[in-house]
Symmetry: C2
Subunit: 408 residues, 2 copies
């Protein structure tokens, strides 16, 4: 069983007050899939007419529930829908039995709620390679259905945690045509978490009305600049899932609405940042901004090379303004760079330019910036207008503790 570590030093003060989203109800239960004495299953019921879109891991070894969700997204869109999620077991790399377990859960949810199985989306997060004891989940469905409530989202956020040290939630409101559209989302994840644990899961709900294809395009584009721009340890889960449900209860269409897109972007970025703030062993939240690259793609390659470098991440843990390692990471990334044109800043401190340390560089100033909890590393390549910003955390003894020093 996963080791429960103390609350991350980067955690927000409290779970935010999330608004009720008309058309969505939630419940959580203790099914004992793997954990004892805590909730480990959440159920969300979505009103008829809800548009559901999603983005998923690109792993070639993705889990049975991910494959099931991908097959269903874009299919039947009438009638009520549901999302069922368990923690403790990811039902990943479980062969044909994994498919059987996923079907057992989704068909039982369909029967219990009286909805089409093609509208039941499931996720599983936890140990890889062990059979999912789906009977423990289906045995709780009647209880879950009875307890569905519009204000149950915080309980849902708690039930999907594995070794997360805090539940993650974010929300936004946006005014359109004189009405208020609400967005509320929850997430779990801090990389591949603890031994045998996997998965980042994100569920976002809104009372907006949306065309499915338009909403999917918006979600995919925003995923590229939020969840696809964070990294704890460069290791990609077999179960990553993001589902967005638009109930339409507000009666307001948001297709092509820039204010809604901005609000959704804000919620997604907030949740993505909370995942980094719960990164395994993290003590620093680090923003890495690349400008002046030949292309945006090159900028992201450089940014991720820095964000995933163990030497950069350990230097940050040691509060060491070790700009030589930034140079190293840019050099190895494979994207275009000219040593003599790039400049590097820690916070506002110009560290390096013209192929060498900046003449005015004062290491004491850079060292002071590194002592903060929120660090900014920016690099201008001096080549073009390509840019990218990514977020990561440091690499500490805590990461080794969580991932090497014990085993169930």
């Amino acid at each position: 069983m996963g080791k429960i570590t103390k609350r991350s030093p980067l955690a927000p003060a409290a779970f935010p007050a999330l608004p009720v989203i008309d058309g969505v109800t939630f419940a959580a239960a203790q099914a004992g899939v793997r954990y004892q004495g805590r909730t480990d299953v959440m159920l969300a019921r979505l009103a008829p007419g809800t548009t559901v879109v999603g983005t998923f891991t690109r792993s070639a070894t993705r889990s049975a529930p991910v494959l099931d969700c991908q097959a269903k997204i874009g299919g039947a869109s009438d009638g009520a829908a549901a999302i069922i999620v368990n923690s403790g077991n990811s039902n990943a790399f479980t062969g044909k039995n994994g498919v059987v377990s996923t079907r057992a859960v989704t068909s039982a949810v369909a029967t219990t709620l009286g909805i089409d199985e093609a509208r039941v989306f499931s996720s599983s997060t936890g140990v890889i390679g062990e059979p999912l004891p789906h009977d423990r989940i289906t045995a709780k469905l009647a209880e879950l259905a009875d307890n569905l409530s519009p204000d149950g989202i915080e309980q849902a956020a708690n039930a999907i945690m594995t070794t997360d040290t805090f539940p993650k939630g974010a929300c936004a409101e946006v005014q359109i045509d004189g009405k208020t559209i609400k967005i509320a989302g929850i997430a779990k994840g801090s990389g591949m978490i603890a031994p045998d644990m996997a998965t980042m899961l994100v569920y976002i709900f809104t009372d907006a009305q949306a065309d499915r294809a338009t909403l999917q395009t918006l979600l995919s584009g925003l995923t590229d600049v939020t969840f696809n721009c964070i990294t704890v340890d460069s290791d990609t889960s077999t179960s990553d899932t993001l589902l967005l449900a638009a109930t339409g209860a507000s009666g307001v269409s948001v297709d092509g609405n820039a204010a809604f897109a901005d609000a959704l972007h804000g919620v997604m970025l907030d949740l993505a940042h909370q995942v980094i703030r719960d990164g395994e062993g993290a003590t620093k939240f680090v923003e890495i901004a690349i400008t002046g690259a030949a292309t945006d793609a090159d900028a992201k390659t450089h940014a991720m090379a820095i964000a995933n470098s163990p030497l950069v991440k350990t230097a940050i843990a040691g509060e060491d303004p070790n700009w030589g390692r930034i140079v190293m990471a840019i050099g190895k990334s494979g994207a275009a760079a000219d040593r003599d044109l790039l400049s590097i800043r820690f916070g506002d401190v110009l560290v390096a330019e013209n192929g060498w340390v900046s003449p005015g560089y004062d290491e004491a100033q850079a060292a002071a910036h590194m002592k903060g909890q929120h660090l900014n590393i920016s690099v201008d390549l001096g080549l073009g207008s390509g840019k990218s910003t990514v977020w990561t955390c440091d690499l500490t003894h805590g990461y080794i503790d969580i991932n090497a020093d014990y085993r169930s």
Copy 2:
């Protein structure tokens, strides 16, 4: 200054007895570039007619000495030659001053030994971004020239260390046309080593006679299956340099000779493995063999995804047969894989097949394998005939200690 850690638990028992290579003499000296109380400069003189070839880092931010070597390799090939190496300062990211320092050293060596500067190859390893105090090196050249000796290679191996915990050497002999051809090589490196330190450096000497272009092709090909197949932490140095000098003193041509190629391969692989055995914080030497991939390139992509995964490396440190993380790494690599066709072995223990844990899998057997110092992880993709083998080490608290917990 680099922290000197205790000798790696994976170190060989002793430095090997390397043969004298006719045509090469060595000396080492204490120049005080950065370290005190130890040698930090080596000089090798190569007899007239020696063929010199090399391979270098592909970093876009490579150091001044690397750029100088690359410009010289393939140029003038008559007359005596020399290799001059200092530890403690890598002369990397030092702008135009870096070029001045490199030229100051190589021209002084040329004058001291009475040879063409175009035949003087230099390397520097150590701190990035600080000016190289080249006067301290040139002040020692007369002493170095006086002390040149055919049996000085072990002193040379010691002088090029930064925070390596042991000097690295390897040798081979091969019979060709009734004569014995000798190969002797030295190396330094354990990834990016300690804070501000960088570089893997390798120097190999043989008395074989070789055509330059043919020898370069052989060296490049063998580099791809030796030094380019090792990884400590995925971070690429700005200074990696491998030089091979063939003095021709034996009078035996090795162009196209398979036995010589095999012997050279053996020496390069031995030195590459010693770099892994001195990996920062390493307690396990890990061989990762991929077979059955769609292509050799796919096989290497999968192998490196496993070898560079922090979650795989921490599981190995914890002696945990965590095969789910192998599945994860294959899934994220981007190369072709079919979850239901791959099989995974730890040592001889079949762990997973047909998309799930193997029916006969006994975790106690796998756990016993993980307790060894030399681990074998093999994966068959079941797709084609592509294959690749790479070598790495585990990720431990020692790595964090070396890279985060202190700073000069």
